[in-house]
């Protein structure tokens, strides 16, 4: 069999394949390797610096048991409240709570402690938290430290390798195929279990600066996992959510929570701190409410909107300036080059581009996972932002690790099924097809059109008719996909990303049509159903059918506290 596959390119064999070497993927690789599994990580860039926290991160959410708000129960109560209708509390308990202590210990051990140099935790509050769960820390080198640990444990790494599809047999996932983005080498990877960890979907909505790579989360994350899992037949959830955040005007950078977490006020042109008019928690309201309120202030003519930190004490300001670049390494450069001094000036902010991701800081959109991070397909696991129940540094660290342990455990239990030569041939032809595209349409024009159209018809205000229009236009535009030509393998990667964005957009529209209500303010704003309805306290599940996409509603239980 191996000989038959050799004709296509390089054939590799592993127990656990991790697709995507970001925060969740690296933690998954570490978890699987510690269990003794042979691990292979494939990433289209480098596992040292890739994914959402490539250049660093500054916050890790945790409860530490100092008070009643600082407990597992209070945390899960908040989780069930803030993300009700998208979050599975029982899965959260498994992927986060049960793994939290081990994660804090692991970060210490690899040399990226959550503590300050004085040995204490620096904790702040923002985005609707019931207490200061956010641990502020220096995570500028978290990624390379995790990569070092994964390599130390013997994980094999295939870099500059874009994974394009999952190999299946009898409904079980048995590996994946991909190509080198520089020289086109094709890979056939046989794996007993596969963990997808490729993040959320960016570049999907019109960018306010007309720069599609100027995104809040990593613009290399374009829904690869969601697309591959969908095509293999897995169930996905929370796909209808549009995520938007607040960013410095002109630069879609993370890090604004550092300003608001320290007590920065969000003010309008008149200098009014307007958030209390919209929400009792003011500038520390949930992110979805902040975004909606800023949109309203600007649309009603009270903009521009700023973050004002001028009232902060010298001590707090010094801490802010020291830590500002931890979340986004280049944010201090941007502020300085703008000529802004936070001690004297306000920093203008805007609402970011839309992205496809979860409604809160705890859960995301994508592969529906259970308490063991298993998808609905045997052999396939989800980790990080591409899984429906993981999001942000804390859950991607804890849950990623759990997925590695689980994938290692199941790798010894699943059937050893042969790879179909016909399937590999078909997948290779599909991924390389744009190398012989007609060239009548550029990848940039294709994506720009899709982004503009989706923001208009399926963005932060949508209704049944506009979603139907979006689906129709996606269908028409999709017929032109084969007109895009890639001149080299870097461009081939980008064209493949456009395809993934298109597939995610279709899932998003179908899921949104199924959720006939508004929830999470602008994150799922159905103008034809403006109320939040208790009967939608659950998830919209998306799955491939023979002819297209089916969606259905799955109720979730918010009445019981899961066992420790």
């Amino acid at each position: 069999m191996a000989q038959n596959l050799d004709q296509f390119g390089v054939v590799l064999d592993t127990d656990v394949l991790v697709v995507g070497g970001g925060l969740a993927g690296n933690n998954a690789a570490i978890g699987a390797a510690e269990k003794g599994a042979r691990v292979l990580i494939a990433d289209k860039s480098s596992i040292n610096r890739c994914g959402a926290i490539a250049g660093g991160v500054d916050h890790f959410m945790a409860y530490l048991g100092t008070d009643t708000w600082d407990s597992r129960e209070a945390y899960l109560e908040w989780v069930g409240r803030i993300a009700r209708g998208a979050v599975n509390v029982s899965v959260q308990n498994a992927v986060f709570c049960r793994e939290l202590d081990a994660a804090i210990e692991r970060m210490d051990r690899i040399g990226c402690t959550l503590k300050q140099p004085d040995g204490k935790y620096y904790r702040t509050s923002s985005f609707g938290l019931p207490g200061p769960y956010m641990i502020n820390f220096n995570g500028k080198h978290l990624k390379p430290l995790l990569a070092k640990e994964a390599r130390r444990l013997g994980c094999k790494v295939v870099e500059k390798c874009s994974i394009s599809g999952l190999l299946t047999s009898d409904g079980q996932v048995i590996g994946a195929v991909g190509f080198n983005i520089r020289n086109g080498t094709f890979y056939v990877i046989k794996a007993k279990t596969t963990i997808l960890a490729t993040g959320n979907t960016n570049r999907i909505f019109e960018n306010p600066t007309n720069m599609p790579f100027n995104t809040w989360q990593c613009p290399a994350n374009t829904g690869a996992a969601q697309t591959m899992a969908f095509e293999a037949g897995a169930q996905l959830a929370n796909m209808e959510i549009v995520r938007i955040t607040l960013v410095p005007r002109g630069f879609s950078a993370a890090g604004l929570n550092a300003l608001t977490g320290m007590g920065g006020k969000i003010v309008n042109a008149a200098g009014e701190e307007f958030m209390p008019r919209y929400h009792p928690m003011g500038s520390k309201a949930p992110r979805s409410k902040l975004v909606q309120s800023v949109m309203q202030e600007i649309s009603e003519g009270r903009g521009p909107v700023y973050v004002d930190c001028r009232h902060l004490s010298d001590k707090d300001m010094t801490h802010l300036y020291t830590t500002l670049g931890y979340d986004k390494d280049t944010l201090p450069d941007f502020i300085e080059q703008k000529g802004v001094n936070l001690r004297k000036d306000r920093l203008e902010i805007m609402t970011s581009e839309g992205m496809q991701g979860g409604p809160s800081e705890v859960c995301s959109s994508g592969i529906m996972i259970d308490e063991e991070t298993k998808s609905s397909l045997p052999g396939l696991f989800g980790a990080g932002d591409c899984a429906d129940q993981m999001r942000c540094t804390h859950v991607c660290t804890t849950g990623g690790y759990l997925s590695g342990k689980m994938a290692a455990e199941y790798s010894g239990q699943l059937k050893d099924l042969p790879i179909s030569v016909a399937q590999v041939r078909e997948m290779k032809e599909k991924v390389f097809a744009p190398l012989s595209g007609s060239g009548r349409l550029t990848q940039r024009k294709f994506e720009d059109t899709m982004r503009k159209m989706l923001w208009m018809y399926a963005g932060p205000a949508r209704n049944a008719h506009s979603l139907d229009v979006a689906l129709d236009k996606l269908e028409q535009l999709g017929k032109r996909y084969s007109d895009i030509a890639a001149q080299n393998y870097h461009e081939l990667m980008r064209v493949g990303e456009s395809y993934q964005i298109m597939q995610v957009a279709k899932m998003m529209c179908h899921a949104s049509l199924e959720r006939k209500e508004t929830r999470f303010y602008v994150y799922h704003n159905r103008t034809d159903y403006p109320e939040t309805k208790p009967e939608y306290d659950g998830q919209i599940v998306v799955q491939k059918t023979d002819g297209g996409i089916k969606t259905f509603f799955k109720k979730l239980d918010y009445s019981t506290m899961p066992e420790k």
Partner: protein, 68 residues
């Protein structure tokens, strides 16, 4: 148009190419110099600067971001 690489300081190690999450930088094996090949695809994450052992990378934001 970030990043800007000072070729006088560059030691030709290729780390910026290896670590760029967006495949923006190409290290030319013939000339042993890095080329910012796809500047429009830069995410401004700072990885190239963080990991450059020669301190040869600076980040310069364009007017399209500073003054929009």
């Amino acid at each position: 148009m970030p990043p800007v690489i000072d070729l006088k300081k560059c030691k030709g190690c290729g780390t910026c190419d290896l670590h760029c999450p967006l495949d923006v930088i190409l290290f030319d094996q013939q000339t042993k110099t890095p080329i910012v090949r796809y500047p429009d695809e830069c995410w401004h994450c700072g990885s190239c600067r963080l990991d450059c052992p020669a301190d040869a990378v600076s980040i310069q934001f364009g007017p399209e971001m500073l003054y929009v």
